[in-house]
Subunit: 336 residues, 2 copies
């Protein structure tokens, strides 16, 4: 085993971990540099990414070395267990779970929105997928406009609940009854239902909605009224969001479209018959934005982003690119 820094992907057999390895390979990282890990139940098995098989190693402190880059794509419990150990061994950790997102010591980062927050941190949290799609689409608008409040109704893919969610959709769409131990509280084929996360008895918001509210405030350092309604729809990948920004003073369609055109990682599709759709955004590296309407005191639009990719794995990778550009470049050249 080389002593050069590794890229460790914890939770590599999960839907986000798998996508992350795929992104690493697309960016020319040699498979030998990637250490795919899993918990005891999966360790020893192989996970396949494209044509490459990765044997899943048991996540263990002996894996972590100085200058390693660790992507945590597992549960909150695993994140809380391994992040301190990895950092103690000199590694840098990018965590895709929600364990550290609201920790005031940990920056919560979408590189196109708040890159500066990374500074010299060795633990960086990647936001919830719904937050990433939302803020990627509108963060520049919120800087340019006189924002009153932000409403966002989501149309969330069932793969947002992991492989089990996707499997449930495929089985139920083929006519099977919902499993008695389904991760969803409702049948998922041909249905629309509220996000399955726990509802806060005080506010009435479900867990997904609460995350969006808190994360938007933390990332943007604002205190806008954010009112999300998070729903599941029978879609395999991609979260679609119907967003309305109410304004304290008027704006124009031209100004709004100019802002969107200049927003990093956004592609504007605002021609009738060519609006963003879940299928068009599948596996994309950008958020598609369109169906823009500017009324008296509001801007409305539709945004679609692949929640596994730009909403999770790719955001984590972009954080890594920002903090470890040189290290990644080193890894890339190892195979030369």
């Amino acid at each position: 085993m080389s002593n050069e820094p590794k890229i460790i992907v914890i939770g590599a057999s999960g839907i986000v971990g798998n996508e992350l390895i795929s992104i690493l390979l697309e960016h020319g990282i040699a498979p030998e540099r990637i250490c795919a890990t899993a918990s005891a139940s999966s360790a020893g098995k192989a996970t396949h990414v494209g044509g490459t098989a990765f044997t899943l190693q048991l996540t263990d402190q002996s894996l972590f070395n100085d200058r390693d880059l660790v992507f945590q794509c597992a549960t909150n419990a695993a994140a809380l267990e391994w992040a301190p150990i990895a950092i103690q061994h000199g590694a840098t950790v990018i965590d895709c779970s929600s364990a550290y997102r609201m920790d005031p010591e940990v920056p919560l980062v979408i590189p196109s929105v708040n890159l500066d927050a990374i500074a010299n941190h060795t633990l960086i949290a990647s936001p919830n997928c719904t937050t990433i799609v939302l803020l990627t689409a509108i963060h520049r608008l919120t800087q340019e406009l006189d924002v009153g409040s932000i409403q966002c109704a989501t149309y969330q893919a069932l793969s947002g609940a992991g492989r089990e969610g996707l499997d449930a959709l495929e089985r139920e769409s083929a006519g099977e009854s919902p499993s008695s131990n389904s991760i969803f509280p409702e049948p998922c084929a041909f249905n629309v239902f509220c996000h399955e996360s726990t509802v806060d008895s005080e506010t009435g918001f479900n867990g997904e909605e609460s995350k969006v509210i808190q994360e938007v405030h933390k990332i943007t350092s604002t205190n806008f009224d954010v009112i999300p309604t998070c729903m599941r729809v029978p879609v395999k990948r991609v979260h679609t969001e119907a967003i309305t920004i109410t304004l304290k003073s008027e704006t124009t369609q031209t100004h709004v479209l100019n802002c969107l055109e200049q927003t990093l990682n956004v592609v504007v599709l605002n021609e009738e018959g060519h609006f963003p759709t879940a299928i068009k955004a599948t596996s994309g590296d950008t958020v598609l934005v369109g169906h823009v309407r500017v009324t008296n005191r509001a801007v409305s639009l539709v945004a679609c982003g692949d929640q596994i990719r730009i909403g999770a794995a790719l955001n984590a990778f972009r954080i890594a690119e920002a903090i470890e550009h040189n290290a990644l470049a080193d890894c890339t050249s190892v195979t030369d």
Copy 2:
């Protein structure tokens, strides 16, 4: 042929016409009283409702007699052609198309909302399905609260585009490619896309959204800012709507829930894990409302209503009940 008033259903082989006949039968109307009509392409064929076959008659002026009740469940062109002729022959017409909705001489009616508008009119328009679900859910709230604006993101069933829409969903969900002459501009299985109606180049709103804005203003005699975003989702029946009402002064969760509990044709499902879903609302006579959240200056909720039934055929039937209670009662007793 009896000289007693008939119930004529124009467009009886369509998805709304068929549902309307089903509702008539459920309410004890004898099949003999029902005259199912269609255009030349379908006339002579049979349409089946439950176990009863109705031979489709060609829509023709000779069908209409004094005191007949005519439900128009066909195209705008058919509505504009037959309504004047039916009225001339002494019939009362309830039109489910959009042909007369914004005609200032024609009342646009949801009986639970603006029953009084019917007065002595002989032509009454039934609103767009999205409008009916929205206003059934919130009209009482809008009277009780100090409303600033209404935002509504929809999750609309593909059967809203008629039988063709439902067929497309079933074929594409089974793996077929979208037909080259699909009524939808996008693949419809496992997808989310903007409503297929024409976009107004000035406002950016699609036709469905423009209808909702105009119809809400007409029915409620208000001028609230109404901002709909109308989207299609891979659902067979039922329009789900994520609604946010911004307020000019605060309210409480208790007040909002009390209002909703007292709203006619609304069933409140506000317990976690038992929120409204598209499947729960399928074939229902009520709008299911839940996931209610009250923040500083806004009320948010989710509403689900079967757009074919409460959003179209049942609304038309309820209009008929209101204006012709006695006539319908007469028809019911004919079989005694």
